[in-house]
Subunit: 255 residues, 4 copies
């Protein structure tokens, strides 16, 4: 078999290097957040970038036992008491397009928008007008915008404040704010939500769209593991009783 090529990690029985850094020097002089950044970008973050990246990972880390990721993990834990990894994996699997996938879509929207602005030499504001108008015409939902309830997610405000204060905000943040203005003009007020905020900042930190989803997974695994432990410590096996209503065919015989 051909060797598998990798540019990430060199390891033998005694030494591990991640993108050229000896893992023991990272253990002594870096944080886990630095290392996640390094693994996904090939470089260590600045102090300001690290602060934003920490805030994003914390912001998605847990949303309680009813989020699909936590609920799936707890139900698996309920039927499978011995395999902790099975429960955590089920939680990861729930992070699809509808749950945790908005970051991927929104980061793609941002990357595409900025590419259009450059290609056509128009402003981000003009680009946003065009993107919103097209989405409106196609009755397509705008990822990263709007809330189920008419209140602002406080995590969004914190992320944008920190991005400005730390000098991290660049084109991604600018484009999402242009999108918010365009939506208000052309559709209705659709404030940037948490997915939109973290997508804008992850773009400005240099991440590619699919990595947006992977970072959601990394952050949320912290919460899913905690939910699984609580299920094991507080609840009995097979404790979940979901009410069911059958509305299928009446009893019949095999002919």
């Amino acid at each position: 078999m051909e060797p598998w090529r990798t540019g990430i990690t060199a390891s033998d029985e005694t030494n591990i290097h991640i993108y050229g850094y000896d893992v023991t020097s990272l253990m002594r002089g870096a944080t886990f957040t630095d290392t996640i950044f390094l693994l996904h970008q090939g470089r260590l973050p600045s102090k300001e970038e690290r602060a934003l990246f920490d805030a994003i990972l914390i912001g998605v880390s847990d949303h309680g036992p009813a989020a699909p990721s936590a609920a799936a993990a707890r139900i698996v834990a309920s039927g499978n008491r011995k395999s902790l990894e099975a429960a955590v994996a089920a939680g990861v699997l729930a992070m699809g397009d509808a749950h945790g996938g908005a970051a991927y879509d929104c980061m793609q929207l941002i990357a595409d928008g900025i590419a259009i602005a450059q290609r056509d030499a128009i402003s981000l504001q003009e680009t946003a007008q065009r993107v919103v108008a097209e989405a409106k015409a196609a009755r397509r939902r705008l990822p990263g915008m709007g809330h189920r309830v008419h209140t602002e997610d406080p995590r969004t405000r914190v992320l944008f404040e920190m991005a400005r204060a730390y000098g991290v905000a660049r084109e991604g943040v600018a484009f999402m704010q242009a999108m918010e203005m365009s939506a208000r003009d052309l559709i209705r007020p659709l404030p940037v939500n948490i997915d939109g905020a973290l997508s804008a900042i992850l773009h400005d930190l240099g991440f590619l769209p699919p990595v947006g989803k992977l970072i959601f997974i990394i952050g949320r695994v912290a919460g899913v593991t905690a939910q699984v432990m609580e299920e094991h410590r507080r609840e009995k096996p097979m404790r979940v009783r979901i009410p069911v209503m059958y509305d299928g065919p009446s009893p019949r015989e095999i002919k």
Copy 2:
């Protein structure tokens, strides 16, 4: 259906509290590592505890594409280009008893050892002698001790040095060092390996044995996600060609 009880996270549409802390205050004033600690202990770590916890998470974060977690994730990514979460979940599933499970077993060994010492009012050194003698008689392997090659894992030394320097080392570290001395006396030199070192420190940081495994998962997911991204960016679908040798029955007919 009965509501699901939780002591971890209170959330509504606009606010999330983790063990009583508003998530936005964690985003502003804590690190992701702090939040992982909080989610699993119900309290924030001290500065010294955080440094050790960071070092442990970094130390297990990646071991290259050939580790079972990374290899399973890459093979799934190779057949499944659209579902990033499927590949990451497969990586999590590879972290069983043989890969990443040593922390659980070793933390249990430490917790049992310390409980025996207290119950029988004997020293940790005496307890370790007894535990090693029993394992030797039963030809049972000691988790967290010994290496495949005759060299020391540099991560072990760094963790123990940091644990002492930061005042985090307590009974867990003392017990594993007593185990090392006892093994040298009764069996042969079996230095504490990385699994043994992180188990000792996680015990001293207040974690329960199963959490040892969950922390391995949290740390390693950082690396597995990076391995999956590299597979997507550098390799073609279905590229893995494993050589196979068939040694089963010869061709035959259905009777």
Copy 3:
């Protein structure tokens, strides 16, 4: 890399042989149930063995949306609309020790019991008395026996009737019936349940204990896939609303 050895399947680009049978001859002259049997035993079943094996696979195929396997699959499908395989995999992961694992444990009990009877040259009835007495003394639950409600599972009766009618019942069925008599004498009436019945018959069909669990998985995947399809066709994304009650620490500030 060393080639991976296998005695199951020989395949090249144009031909596939399973334990020596050309797959096209199986397609023409065998059933899927025959092929499952072949893959796990290396031989095709007799007509009578196939009838029992079909009955077992059907008997475990579905238990409605509230079983942990189906519930986990549906919750994952609810957050992840694009990856059908993610939902099915989550269903598989829920089949642990508490849900679907009884077959493994009960088949081990049967295999151990029969081995004891042979080793000590005592009857299955005498062995069962000893096993039940030991379980009673150790307050250990007997796998495959007893019901949550005081009624018999009709699937058990059908399996035992078919096993007798088709001449498949041997030592496994005899041992479980001896266990039922011994439990009545020494503990209280604990009728053989569906897990016990299929374990007895799978033993008599020549399967090893861990295969008992794998057969449960094969059968139940038929139902889990149907549950996932129904979730996609009838329900909206993110539709599951699990009620939550927080009972953790009160709001507090980071010090």
Copy 4:
């Protein structure tokens, strides 16, 4: 919580009905293949339909240890000896778009083609010409057609022969044959492969496109479970040694 609605299975502690049939009557009078068909169509198959459905499930059941599904399952089994379900789930996760996903895409192609023919009142042959011409212009690959090597998959021939002999072949088979003729005219000989053959027949049996993928999963789980068992019985934990070549940054210091 609202009860979960289902039209598939009614169950209480003692009785289970699948689409109106008592599970014990299915155990006595049906096959597992009948039950899979019933779970996904709401009706039992005719004898002829069952023969084709058996042939399809057998045809996809195993392709040896090097297929991504089996390889992923074996690597997980190698690092995780205790959780059989974890290994099987990893195998399921490998069945994505590139491995096992062709049935979904090809069934969609067939359903769309037949819908176009009906809408525009043109023949299937004319429709196929149009579809092939469009795919050629867009340089888009045609799912279910062509082989990696220049030989015919014998499973394709068997499926089409059986479909004709049993009177199951209808519009789906006709459309794929029209596609083959059109490809020969407009591109080059691209014989219908196994994915195309089973897609045509599953369409004619009344299945929806996503179910094509689920049926691949059901069939392949039979093989994946056998591969996992063989890994446990023949191989040691952690036995897989994948050769790795590092081509990333040279060693460097943290600044």
